[in-house]
């Protein structure tokens, strides 16, 4: 009955109701769409960062993070391998790596690079290494003379598949070590910087170059699917690993490894809240105004209702109910439009037209907008909660109308 009355009151002035509904719909819609885009951007930067050799969790020598030098290596990898083979959640993958800074050179050019020794069988599922071979092929197990480098690096060395490239670095005895490798293939990465920074050789070749026997720099772990994006998902795994890990090693998550990225993503979250607030305020002016008009032009009616014995609380309730009707219709349509928009772009938005710009911000080339249930909830909660809150003003105004005042 109350609802019925509110519904009819809302539609007494269809044009006015229509206009404010459009405002609410646009508000909800754009909040969702913007949120989805931001989520997509965040996921894309995270994915691209994790893919660029970070993984979800790394097992390292505690000194390695500060000083990624040969000394700070895992000197006894066998127990780590045994542990990782049984302790990780199902669907995870992991591999050892050797990592060292060095210089690559040929007759044409020389450039600083990072040498990465990898397990040719396991690495492809772990990082971008396996994603996009531009030319040639990936390393095969036992191919200790082969090297894979980024397409951009290959171009700047003016060389091609099959030619030689000399790597120079400092070995475990602090002597300069160098060796020639044959280019087997090139990879494409989302960022040109990545293509120019990393060269891949086999684990065994890297161990030999550095003179470290069977030692490795780190073990990189990837958890299955979309898990591993926040602390709650990472911590149980890290705890389980730490319990059995040799004393002299540590397990670090991407949040530890990339604190800057975490901070950046946090800023994004705060910015989004700010955005909600700004859009809401812009909408609230219209909402309050419309409700105020609706209330004041019915002064007589409210006076009459009061004369009939309606308590002020009931009047407040009635007005808020009208507000609720507006908000529910607006939110319903807004959510629908929002979800539809996200669905339309679910194939991803190609950012490659801005390749260098997105690289600058650490974005991948494809951004897929999406929202989480939490986002949906918070958008609706913001509009609904704050919407009812600001409507209290016209509601209280209506409740304050006295019968005498109304009849004049």
């Amino acid at each position: 009955m109350n609802f019925h009355m509110a519904w009819r009151n809302v539609w007494r002035n269809p044009k006015r109701t229509g206009i404010i509904l459009v405002a609410i719909i646009i508000g909800a819609w754009t909040m969702l769409a913007y949120c989805a885009l931001a989520r997509g951007v965040m996921a894309s930067s995270l994915e691209s960062a994790l893919n660029t050799l970070t993984g979800h969790i790394q097992i390292q020598n505690p000194g390695f993070r500060e000083d990624p030098a040969v000394e700070n290596r895992i000197r006894n990898p066998a127990p780590v391998a045994a542990l990782l083979d049984h302790a990780l959640p199902k669907g995870s993958c992991w591999a050892f790596r050797v990592q060292a800074g060095g210089v690559a050179s040929n007759a044409r050019n020389s450039q600083g690079i990072t040498i990465v020794g990898i397990d040719p069988e396991k690495e492809p599922e772990l990082s971008f290494y396996g994603n996009a071979t531009a030319q040639g092929r990936l390393l095969e197990p036992g191919d200790d003379r082969g090297i894979i480098l980024g397409q951009a690096l290959l171009d700047s060395f003016e060389t091609k598949i099959g030619r030689k490239l000399v790597l120079m670095t400092q070995d475990a005895d602090r002597e300069t070590a160098s060796r020639a490798f044959k280019i087997r293939g090139t990879f494409r990465a989302e960022m040109e910087g990545t293509e120019k920074q990393y060269v891949f050789i086999t684990l065994a070749a890297a161990q030999k170059l550095l003179g470290i026997g069977d030692n490795v720099s780190l073990a990189c772990i990837r958890l299955p699917g979309r898990t591993g994006q926040d602390k709650a998902e990472l911590n149980p795994v890290v705890e389980a690993l730490t319990r059995e890990l040799p004393r002299d090693l540590t397990a670090l998550t991407w949040i530890d490894l990339l604190p800057l990225l975490k901070g950046y993503l946090g800023m994004f979250d705060r910015f989004m809240l700010l955005w909600y607030l700004v859009v809401f305020i812009a909408m609230a002016f219209g909402l309050v105004n419309t409700m105020l008009m609706a209330v004041l032009e019915r002064t007589r009616e409210f006076g009459l209702l009061k004369a009939l014995g309606l308590t002020p609380v009931r009047i407040v309730k009635n007005v808020l109910l009208e507000c609720l009707v507006l908000l529910v219709i607006g939110l319903g349509a807004g959510n629908l439009l929002g979800v539809l928009t996200i669905y339309l772009f679910s194939g991803g938005i190609d950012m490659s037209f801005m390749a260098q710009g997105s690289e600058f911000w650490g974005l991948g080339r494809l951004v897929v907008p999406f929202v989480t249930a939490k986002d949906l909830l918070s958008v609706n909660a913001v509009i609904m909660g704050l919407g009812l809150l600001v409507c209290l003003y016209p509601a209280v105004k209506a409740a304050g109308i006295t019968p005498v005042e109304a009849m004049n």
Binding site: N13, K15, R16, I19, I20, V22, A23, I26, T30, Y34, D67, A69, G101, G102, V103, S105, A107, R108, N109, S110, Q111, G112, I113, D155, S156, M168, T169, Q170, R174, T176, L260, L261, G263, Y264, G266, M267, R270, W275, V278, V279, I281, A282, M283, F285, G286, L287, V288, N289, T290, L292, M293, E297, M354, A355, Q356, G357, S358, E359, F360, W361
Partner: protein
């Protein structure tokens, strides 16, 4: 009297008028503030990049900015310097030469980018000299002396007075090696740069890498960002009539080019465009939001007064006069809102321009892009007025709807309305 009438009409419903004015002011405030923050950030980013790295303009061998190959040299830089000395708006210029090398200290080896600089002239262009953390910058009398980035120093575990061995490839492909003494450590604030950069005097560089008198970059700064394109044009014109610099090896067919900072760091300008694009979408949404938020006020201004408007029509006012009256009324609202918004927006922006906006957790991340921990919005005439101008356009369009609609009103129908 018409103005008086519009003014009184606006205040017939003070609550509604105030809410509408506030909505317009709010939109202006947000736009002014956000635009100023964006502009302030871009300026810092551009200046950081220009001052530590690229300068405003560089004369280089075509393609050097892409490949950084040691053979892509400017073989007669002095002749370009002579041109630059006579080019207006040029404040300073210097030569640089770069090469990748393996740097080794007693304890560590890592790759670095050695840059040969002219100590005296470099200090007029680059702000590295002002960011020395330890020791001193290079002096003209130095030979095998180096200054290096703080993160590089940390990685190499070296300090002022220590020695660093550099090993690289010279211009002719032979091995280039030198022992450098660390004279100072700088921290430019751009992590990427501080992790790899080492600077030595240009003559020593040319000697070690067999460069003779050649350099890689002639770096130019101008008196303002706005003059860059003009300087670039006149410089390019001065370079062009001459035959390409003396033939050196097989690259003789490639001439010199003149590139501005945005061409040297395309990522920077694209990232700014991207951020600006994102911002524009944001602003568009906000404007549409505000338009619908205030539209009811304008619609009601007609709807509630249909009878009165009918009377005016009956006593002989033409439809044009009514439209004019309504436009005048909305202009009052809009102008009030915009004035208030500009005032509040400028005060807010000005305040933050002085105190800065702390970025909390994102500080470190943004430092990578050359954005310092505090963002300072920058209030300019453009940022203060372009937002409100947009608001003015959108509110006027919104108000135009009822103002045009009133033209369809007939006196009989209007006076019959409630």
């Amino acid at each position: 009297m018409e103005i008086l009438m519009a003014w009184r009409n606006v205040w017939r419903n003070p609550r509604r008028t105030i809410l509408t004015i506030l909505a317009i002011a709010f939109a202006c405030l947000v736009l002014i503030f956000m635009l100023s923050v964006q502009v302030g950030t871009y300026e810092v980013m551009i200046n950081a990049s220009v001052k530590t790295r690229t300068g405003h303009i560089q004369v280089i061998k075509k393609g050097y900015n892409k490949d950084h190959k040691i053979r892509q040299v400017v073989s007669d830089p002095e002749s370009i310097a002579k041109i630059l000395d006579q080019t207006p708006h040029v404040t300073a210029h210097t030569f640089r030469a770069n090469a990748f090398a393996l740097l080794s200290s007693d304890l560590r080896t890592c790759a670095g980018l050695i840059t040969g600089v002219d100590p005296e002239r470099e200090s007029k262009i680059s702000n590295i000299v002002h960011t020395m953390r330890k020791g001193r910058f290079l002096k003209p009398s130095d030979t095998n002396t180096a200054v290096l980035g703080a993160l590089l120093a940390k990685n190499l575990k070296v300090n002022v007075g220590d020695e660093v061995v550099a090993l690289g490839s010279a211009m002719d492909g032979s091995v280039a090696a030198t022992v450098l003494k660390v004279a100072g450590i700088f921290s430019s604030g751009m992590d990427d740069y501080d992790r790899s950069a080492i600077q030595i005097p240009l003559p020593h560089f040319q000697e070690v890498f067999y460069m003779e008198n050649a350099v890689h970059e002639v770096v130019v700064t101008c008196d303002s960002l706005w003059h860059v394109s003009r300087v670039k044009e006149s410089l390019a014109a001065a370079l062009h009539p001459k035959p390409p610099a003396e033939p050196t090896g097989q690259d003789a067919d490639q001439g010199l080019v003149c590139l501005s900072w945005d061409e040297l760091t395309p990522g920077l300008i694209q990232s700014i465009q991207m951020d600006l694009g994102g911002g524009l979408i944001f602003y568009a949404i906000l404007l549409v939001m505000v338009a619908f938020s205030i539209m009811n006020t304008f619609v009601m201004a007609v709807f509630e007064r249909t009878r009165e408007l009918g009377t005016l029509l009956a006593i002989g006012a033409g439809p044009g006069r009514l439209s004019k009256m309504l436009v005048l009324e909305s202009a009052f609202l809009t102008l009030w809102g915009i004035t208030l918004g500009i005032l509040a927006g400028c005060v807010l922006t000005f305040w933050f321009q002085h105190t800065g906006i702390p970025l909390g957790g994102a500080e470190g991340m943004l430092k990578q892009y050359g954005i310092p921990g505090l963002i300072r919005p920058r209030l300019t005439l453009a940022t203060a007025l372009s937002g409100p101008a947009l608001v003015f356009i959108i509110t006027t369009l919104t108000a135009l709807y009822p103002a045009l609609k009133v033209r369809r009103l007939t006196p009989v129908d209007a006076m019959r309305a409630v």
